[in-house]
């Protein structure tokens, strides 16, 4: 496993994670793609037994271990389906909302709304008191 490959895997993981943390679903989809490629590279790089291509016709042993290649191929196919689905999801979100930004957690939003309304009530109460006191004619 060459040093360059290790660095590349690291870069792919970092870039993928960064994209995954974005608000826009399109960027998240790209992030998943990059991250998945990082994982695939990791599997190929760490677990491949080096040798000739694992094709029976016209090659001499020792063959490269075919199992990681089979694993990665399966993972790629799954990634293909996932990307298609996520893109459709992003498209649908865009049709409904006009943007593809991922919303805050529902619970967070509920708590935030409660906080805001509490705050408004507090402010209103305080203003009421202020008005009352000013009507009395006694300055605070």
């Amino acid at each position: 496993m060459s040093f360059l490959l290790v660095v590349l895997i690291g870069v792919l993981f970092a870039a993928g994670t960064y994209l995954l943390l974005q608000r826009s679903l399109t960027q998240i989809v790209l992030g998943i793609g990059v991250l998945a490629n990082g994982v695939n590279m990791l599997i190929l790089a760490t677990s491949a037994r080096q040798g000739t291509p694992p094709i029976v016709e016209g090659n001499e042993p020792p063959f490269t271990d075919p199992v990681p290649q089979a694993l990665v191929l399966t993972a790629i196919v799954i990634g293909f389906a996932l990307t298609a689905f996520l893109t459709a999801l992003a498209w649908r979100l865009w049709t409904i909302e006009g943007h593809d930004l991922v919303e805050d957690d529902i619970e967070d939003r509920m708590v935030a709304r409660r906080l805001i309304s509490d705050h408004h009530r507090d402010v209103r109460d305080r203003e009421d008191v202020d008005i009352d006191s000013s009507e009395d004619g006694s300055p605070a």
Partner: protein, 493 residues
């Protein structure tokens, strides 16, 4: 045995292919039902086989030798979970057909549902880690589609969180599988125990934690649970019932396999804390809610805590209790969601301040809610009590007083939120007002009621037949605690 082990996976897939091609709704129903019935029959045969003759059933695909072939393995735990899952899938299918219109109407509901069934069966039968990963993907892909089937605003928004989180989980699992392959040169669960035991401690712990995080996200344990209460409630009830009953349990199954077969007892302390926090967070989250579906979703989390607790204790009695808990929990949880589905169908709402007086409208329906609700809280005559009792007794034996205290407290809090649902929906004035001829709810949803009732009868059956079933669970625990039984069975066949 070869054919029977493969059928629960392949029959739904053939069914899925047929239902994609033929979009006539009655034809689709017949195909789905037939395919799942074939699965069910093979699951019954497998379970009978592992509980009587062979302890662990093994099948190698493609007729290849042991170290090359993809193997399907059914030990007692897998066989039991398979049987319960497929039965639940059949019952929920009937429920969805009864529900008609909304979710089942889409031409892709049936094919996707069948793919989900195939994925779940494959997850339980998989004999190697990579196959387990593929099964997860099959199952998750189907679940993504089912969750966003209507394509409404709300579903898409909560679907995004669910999908992204689960994709992340899949990538972690794939990384874990890849690194395990790199470290040992195999992904077969029958060869891994010895090879993993020979690794340095640091590598072992790293691989173990990576697997636990991946499965933990799926199982929704603390602190990886936050996606669940947001995404599950937005799906149609029949879909949520399957998700609640089965999907998280497949994650739990992964945790059980990791902690008993691959890394026996490696992270017991960590898991014990995880279990405690999961129970508490889930139940407290439920107390703050005022909508039936959200309350039930939080209770999924707290119940997972109990199961993980059994795995963490790790003794034979604790594992037997865990298996029994799974046996009790899957039908109970799913039936609560089915009851919720009927409420939603009848009233269009499950908010407490908009619905009321359901008990006055149909006493039998109230009973349908009460039995699984009391069972979930662990009240004596029902299966939940037996499951919790055996779990707590295993805790007593291990002198784990803290976790026992937490488990009992959480159980009481569960009772409180079940009472909350009862007071909110079933007592009081009839709301929203209904014309006199629609008072008896059940007359309008016969198939839905019937399938719920069958499932609830099943939960009563678990309580009624507790003794022989517990014997079976002890057998399953015996296999879990001796990984060599699994290894020998797979290699020797």
């Amino acid at each position: 045995m070869n054919a029977v082990l493969a059928l629960p996976i392949i029959a739904p897939l053939v069914g899925a292919a047929l239902t994609i091609m033929f979009r006539h709704s009655i034809l689709q129903r017949i195909i789905s039902f037939t395919a799942l019935s074939i699965s069910l029959i093979s699951a019954i045969i497998i379970t009978v086989d592992v509980s009587r003759d062979t302890d662990i059933a093994v099948s190698r695909l493609g007729g290849w030798p042991a170290n090359i072939a993809i193997t399907l393995v059914a030990d007692r735990l897998a066989a039991m979970l398979l049987l319960i899952s497929v039965s639940l899938l059949v019952i929920v299918l009937c429920f969805a057909i009864g529900q008609g219109a909304r979710d089942e109407h889409s031409p892709i509901y049936h094919p996707v549902y069948l793919v989900l069934a195939a994925g779940i069966s494959q997850a339980f039968l998989a004999g190697d880690l990579f196959n387990l990963f593929v099964a997860f993907e099959l199952m998750l892909m189907a679940s993504y589609v089912l969750l966003t089937l209507d394509g409404t605003d709300k579903q898409i928004k909560s679907g995004v969180t669910y999908v992204v989180l689960n994709v992340l989980k899949s990538l972690l699992l794939l990384t874990a599988v890849g690194l395990i392959f790199a470290a040992t040169g195999t992904v077969s669960m029958s060869e891994l125990p010895e090879l993993l035991a020979a690794l340095p401690v640091g590598v072992r712990t790293g691989l173990n934690l990576l697997l636990l995080v991946a499965f933990g996200i799926k199982a929704a344990v603390f602190p990886l649970y936050f996606w669940l209460p947001d995404s599950y409630p937005s799906a149609p009830s029949s879909v949520t019932a399957v998700f609640a009953g089965l999907l998280t349990k497949v994650g739990v199954y992964g945790i059980i396999r990791t902690e008993t077969l691959l890394f026996p007892g490696n992270q017991a302390n960590l898991l014990l804390w995880v279990a405690a926090f999961t129970m508490v967070v889930g139940v407290i989250g439920a107390l703050a809610q005022s909508q039936m579906k959200r309350i039930l979703s939080f209770h999924i989390i707290s119940q997972i805590g109990y199961i993980v607790m059994g795995v963490a204790l790790g003794t034979k009695a604790a594992l037997a209790a865990t298996v029994f808990y799974l046996m009790h929990h899957i039908p109970v949880k799913a039936s609560l969601f089915l009851v919720e589905g009927i409420v939603e169908r009848e009233t269009g709402e499950t908010e407490f301040d908009k619905v009321g007086g359901l008990a006055r409208r149909s006493g039998f329906f109230a009973l349908l809610f009460m039995i699984p609700a009391l069972s979930l809280a662990g009240i004596p005559p029902f299966s939940g009590f037996l499951a919790k009792y055996s779990l707590l007794r295993a805790g007593f034996d291990g002198d784990q007083w803290l976790i026992i205290g937490i488990a009992i407290a959480v159980s009481l809090l569960t009772l409180i939120s079940m009472t909350k649902i009862w007071i909110g929906l079933f007592w009081g004035e009839i709301m929203p007002p209904v014309p006199a001829e629609r008072v008896g709810i059940l007359r309008h949803h016969q198939l839905m009621t019937l399938s719920s009732a069958v499932l609830i009868a099943g939960t009563l059956g678990v309580a009624f037949m507790a003794n022989p079933l517990y014997e079976f669970c002890v057998g399953a625990a015996e296999q879990l605690i001796n990984p060599m039984m699994y290894v020998k069975a797979v290699r020797g066949s």
